[in-house]
Subunit: 355 residues, 2 copies
DNA sequence: AAGAAAAAAGTGAACGTTCACATTTTTGCT
DNA sequence: AGCAAAAATGTGAACGTTCACTTTTTTCTT
């Protein structure tokens, strides 16, 4: 009847007849425990259903078994409020939780202010409250040097998504430039000669890298110069720009968009202009959100290894909490998922529209 | 140079010249503090940048300021692995984080096994480790009485999403039946007389409730019986079933799908069969994931108040942690977002296909 | 103005771990 | 067999709060 108090490390120690420290060594996989004792302790833990209290572990000076994944507040909130959702966050959760669960860790999300000066303050408050063992910084915070420096000063391992280097921090990234170049070459190989990139926003580092990769691929193939139009990731703006291009002189026959929303705009405009996809116009997107599989036609897209990057980041962070140096540069492969919006350029047999 | 230790409650107390307990009272908004003192303490807190350590608070016997949101492991993982994503989870994060942030709380996700017997074991381990102040149970775990009972026994407030009642727990739900009935009536009002429901899975309680609402609306309008086909939330199965229906005798002109994926299947089949949307076939979906806005045509859908339900749950849970009774039944309004897949039945002028 | 009651403030203990170190046991070597 | 070194185990203190009290100060009543 009396509510059974929680099982503590002492209960386990008593059960086995050893001291709490020995039990502690067992649960932390520490050295200096005789195999037979370790075995008995493990059995007692299972029998009693003992699970270490994380708050106490942290208070005792140990790890918190917590990783904080930091996202940009304004962008995230805006996406949510606009009904765009945050597939990126969903992917992070996937990669992060999967990896953390395996190692007895926990993942928590945190939104911090876009403003580069406010960010360190907000984050340090969260750190003071939560005392995470590691922190994942995503764009645009990955580029905030002051933030990373603050973490280093506090001795908290930090993984930056979308950065290369890895001399001072754990950097996990994919080669955005190469991906864009690949996309361009793919279209080139299909016979397209006039290509356009519908870019996101210049402040967003990836847009910049992709534009460079795109342009250089065209140059290499002597098919330049490619068109680059900035549409700020927005459907309407992209549609506008695209319509202008496609009805202008020398229209592109291949389009690469910096996100799915702008790729959908291409589909929309093509439909409006009576262009067949992919015969008259091929489209490749950067993002590959779930809805993309059901567009008409289903969108060919470059899939960022978001879940994998976060998983890798968690993994490295956990290793760092275990004493490994918190540095290293890890590149992860992207993947182009070819669906139905890309194909060889196949002009109509006759110019007249007919049944 | 010496790494400045973290600011503790004692530092604040010393700064102001009061005891730690007084500072504790201030940060917990407790009674029995003179306004002048409270003011001084608050200033010192701001000046020193003091943030209470959550682990210590928890250890001291106070709250953990943590809410655990529980999702079904198999379903969630499967969605992620299949590339379907979990928009539901993204929505939860939105509603939960927004509400928790406001009140100094933190939200953490947890996946627990589908198996009703394994669930309590898994969850109790997480509870032992994390000691959350409250727990949110989502389907199918909302329906697991043993789970809820275990939480009640441990004295942990629990909010169940998708349940009504509220006598013993905090129940937050929307009226799925009414929503389905509304959808049906909407189509009826547009002139449709033959309606079909592409249902999800019978084990999923909502599918059942929607089917009931759908059927009863038709009966009331004397337009029954409606077709109900179970497609298990899958595109392929839905497409198959739909094609059968639409090419059969007396085909439906209005379709309601239990999720977006199956609604996309309807769009796909209509296209294949040369049916115009919405002139020949109207489609309404239950879900409204972000991609829906960009389908061709954009999908009319019933939007579940997922974020709002989780927000409400957090709110009530936090109140419960503050001493309020952890019970109550809260219904939240759904919304039908009318886009372009619904319209009056408008048969072609002639049967012959023409330009 | 005294005494009682209420409000404000303070104190020791406890929460469940880990750390740093002390002690005991075992192993290895000659 | 004896000793040194290594391995295994144990102990007290500390982490930063809140709780349950106790003590002090203020307010109210007559």
């Amino acid at each position: 009847m009396a509510k059974k108090a929680n099982v503590t490390i002492e209960d386990v120690a008593r059960e086995v007849g050893v001291s709490r420290q020995t039990v502690s060594r067992v649960i932390n996989k520490g050295p200096n425990v005789k195999p037979a004792v370790r075995e008995k302790v493990e059995q007692a833990i299972a029998r009693l259903g003992y699970v270490p209290n994380l708050s106490a572990r942290r208070m005792g000076g140990g790890r918190s078994y917590l990783i904080l994944a930091v996202n940009d507040r304004q962008r995230t909130l805006e996406n949510w409020q606009a009904g765009r959702g945050n597939d990126w966050v969903d992917q992070m959760l996937y990669g992060g939780m999967t990896e953390c669960e395996k190692q007895g860790y926990h993942l928590m999300f945190e939104l911090i202010d876009t403003e580069p000066e406010k960010a360190p303050v907000e984050l340090s408050h969260s750190i003071a409250a939560l005392r995470p063992d590691g922190i994942i910084l995503t764009p645009p915070h990955s580029d905030n040097e002051a933030l990373a420096a603050m973490l280093a000063e506090k001795g908290i391992p930090c993984a930056r998504i979308g950065r290369r280097g890895g001399e001072d921090y754990i950097d996990v990234y994919m080669d955005e430039g190469a991906a864009a170049a690949d996309a361009a070459r793919h279209l080139l190989a299909l016979g397209h000669r006039k290509l356009a990139l519908i870019a996101g926003s210049p402040e967003y580092g990836n847009s910049q890298k992709r534009a460079e990769g795109f342009l250089s691929a065209l140059e290499q193939a002597q098919c330049g110069p490619g068109l680059v139009a900035k549409a700020n990731f927005q459907f309407d703006r992209a549609a506008e720009l695209l319509e202008e291009m496609l009805t202008g002189p020398n229209p592109p026959t291949g389009v690469i968009a910096d996100n799915d929303e702008m790729a959908f705009a291409a589909l929309h405009v093509a439909d409006k202009l009576g262009l067949r996809i992919p015969d008259d116009l091929s489209v490749i997107s950067f993002e590959d959100t779930p809805g993309v599989r059901f567009s008409v036609p289903p969108l060919t897209a470059i899939r960022q290894p978001t879940a994998e990057m976060i998983g890798k980041a968690c993994n490295e962070l956990i290793a760092a909490a275990g004493g490994q140096p918190a540095k290293g540069s890890f590149i992860l492969p992207y993947r182009m998922v070819e669906r139905a919006t890309t194909g060889p350029l196949a002009p109509r047999l006759s110019q007249a529209s007919g049944s």
